[in-house]
Symmetry: C2
Subunit: 365 residues, 2 copies
């Protein structure tokens, strides 16, 4: 729906900084969709390999890139993003994003209307460019963290590109993102590693132990096989939320241990039944709804309006499938259009009206 | 190699008591291999359904069964097994086994030379007869728990049947089995349920939380979707080992939490590196070695000799692919032959000789 690219810009161009698993997958995915992709990497061999496997077209600076993705380790991301945003001669419509798993340190460090923090919730126990997969993001949730400074056009452009890659965009504040991923990603990863290490230690005394590791244990520890080197940074950058999550888990497990020790079968059954129901109801990723609806909200066309509405949807767990802001020629007013699943439109409408706005909902056919 | 069935017994016959997921899968698998399978179930509808889906040939008592598998809930298994073993008119060569996930309570209660406790380490988040799958056990590890009372011929027969179903037999004492499955199955299952419940609780306050649940979280909580009703019994029957496992996990996680809080990146990297290496080295299930070797041990042909050698292999984590005891016509001596992976034969030979036995190793071609 939105197309903020210049009309004479025949081929869309991307620069990917950091050609590992995520950068390489993104490059392959964009190339498959007709983009020209330039890559660079601090490791020259890895950049060369990205060209060899077809993840990028060429190595370079991509000075005319419409889209720049920083897929470096998180520690490097803020400096790289800031440097590119400050470079003279890059196009005005350029959008810069990153893919780091912790967002507050990056988003706080890079304050720019055309930088939007991002986190594709897709990974793999594979790592490195040779695991790159153009379909890695199909059906994945991709978090964007707009701020009050974010340019709505930049958000719409980035959101469209991500949707084109097959992922579902959800907008959250950087702080909410970091708190929530501690619960569903960081703490589980650390638990997987801990379970694997305990079993591995146990196997030294009992050779049979790992022979008994069936599908359940394999499932639970699969992510522990992933690249260890990214985790110290994640733990440092999101320490508070991870410690809170681990404290919560320690309480829950101590409580469970006491129930097992006491033989409290009723409480155990209740716990396991709740978990079974919740797991069966876990929303399947990649199930884009068949029916979509459009919510139109007249807004003041000012900085911050975008983050207000996208974060409102994000907080409700509602994915945004498309977004556009139509600017009025006559004044500071515009119309924000959000496309969401038809079943969720009513909930979002109520939340928007609860903030004192007027809006209309139309189901798309 | 061993064939203790009467020569005139053209069709092998099995009785399966309890036609749920495991019983039904076993019935289907045996039927596919030419067995006649009789089923029964305390729930008449479930037994009927087992006939309808082709998991068993008929409903009945299977009085002429060569093999009886008790696939009831664990609480019922000892009484059912004992009743069948005491029934007059059943064949002398009959073997009875069960599939309960905790072995000490069953094996202690049913002391009989032709009863051998079993635990196929295969499952599914599916449950019930409609999830039955004749290939459920292909590549799975199947623990047998022979005791000093176990008849070697019964063990060899059961071991052959399990191998025919595509699973790998490993023999352990019931106590060792229960201690080890607490580490690789029971505690992980309870952790999966706890993680799922914490996320589900968190989602009440943060609608976006479960939208961020990517592949890692899905993998880690998949088993929590399984049938909750079996778990209170497992927790009761294996309480000591589960409490020990949870205490160990609580220590490990508290230690990890302190490292995150202290920002001890070196320790975190070490922990995650060890886990990643161990997970990548986790033996793949279902990888039967290309090269096998035969270990022959002259033994006194008496009760207990079988459990001694099979448990020795089990304690070393060595699967047994075939086993036979040749009886001497002239006295109390015989020869035990164990078939194991060629790469593991030397280790087992040393352990056997360490017990004061003589043995020979021959690689099979």
């Amino acid at each position: 729906m939105s197309d903020p690219l210049p009309a004479d810009h025949a081929t869309r161009r991307a620069l990917i900084v950091g050609t590992g698993l995520i950068g390489g997958s993104l490059g392959s995915g964009l190339r498959r969709r007709g983009w020209h992709v330039t890559g660079r990497d601090a490791d020259a061999d890895r950049a060369k390999r990205a060209v060899e496997v077809g993840a990028v077209d060429e190595i370079g600076e991509g000075l005319d890139a419409d889209l720049v993705v920083i897929a470096t380790p998180v520690a490097a991301a803020p400096a790289v993003a800031s440097a590119i945003l400050a470079e003279p001669g890059r196009p005005d419509h350029m959008v810069v994003t990153d893919v780091s798993g912790v967002k507050v340190p990056v988003v706080d460090a890079v304050r720019h209307p055309r930088f939007i923090g991002g986190h594709p919730m897709a990974g793999s126990e594979q790592s490195g460019i040779d695991g790159a997969d153009p379909d890695l993001f199909v059906g994945a949730t991709w978090v964007l963290t707009p701020t009050v400074d974010t340019d709505p056009g930049a958000f719409a452009l980035l959101s469209d590109i991500i949707t084109e890659l097959g992922a579902d965009v959800i907008a959250l504040s950087a702080a909410d993102h970091d708190r929530l991923v501690a619960v569903v990603s960081h703490v589980p990863h650390l638990v997987a590693a801990t379970l694997m290490n305990a079993a591995s230690e146990g196997a030294k005394a009992d050779g049979a132990l790992l022979r008994l590791a069936a599908g359940g244990f394999r499932d639970m520890t699969r992510i522990a096989a992933g690249q260890p080197s990214i985790w110290p940074d994640i733990c440092a950058d999101n320490a508070d939320a991870i410690v809170t999550g681990l404290d919560r888990l320690l309480d829950d497990l101590a409580n469970l241990r006491d129930k097992v020790a006491a033989g409290d079968s009723a409480a155990l059954l209740d716990l396991l039944q709740r978990a079974s129901t919740a797991r069966r109801e876990l929303p399947a990723s990649g199930t884009r709804p068949d029916r979509l609806a459009e919510i139109r909200v007249p807004v003041f066309d000012r900085q911050g309006v975008l983050a207000e509405f996208t974060s409102l949807a994000g907080d409700l767990g509602i994915n945004i499938y498309d977004l556009v802001i139509a600017h009025s020629a006559e004044g500071p007013r515009g119309v924000l259009t959000l496309v969401v699943g038809a079943d969720e439109a009513e909930e979002l409408r109520r939340a928007i009206e609860g903030r004192g706005h007027i809006c209309t909902v139309t189901e798309l056919s």
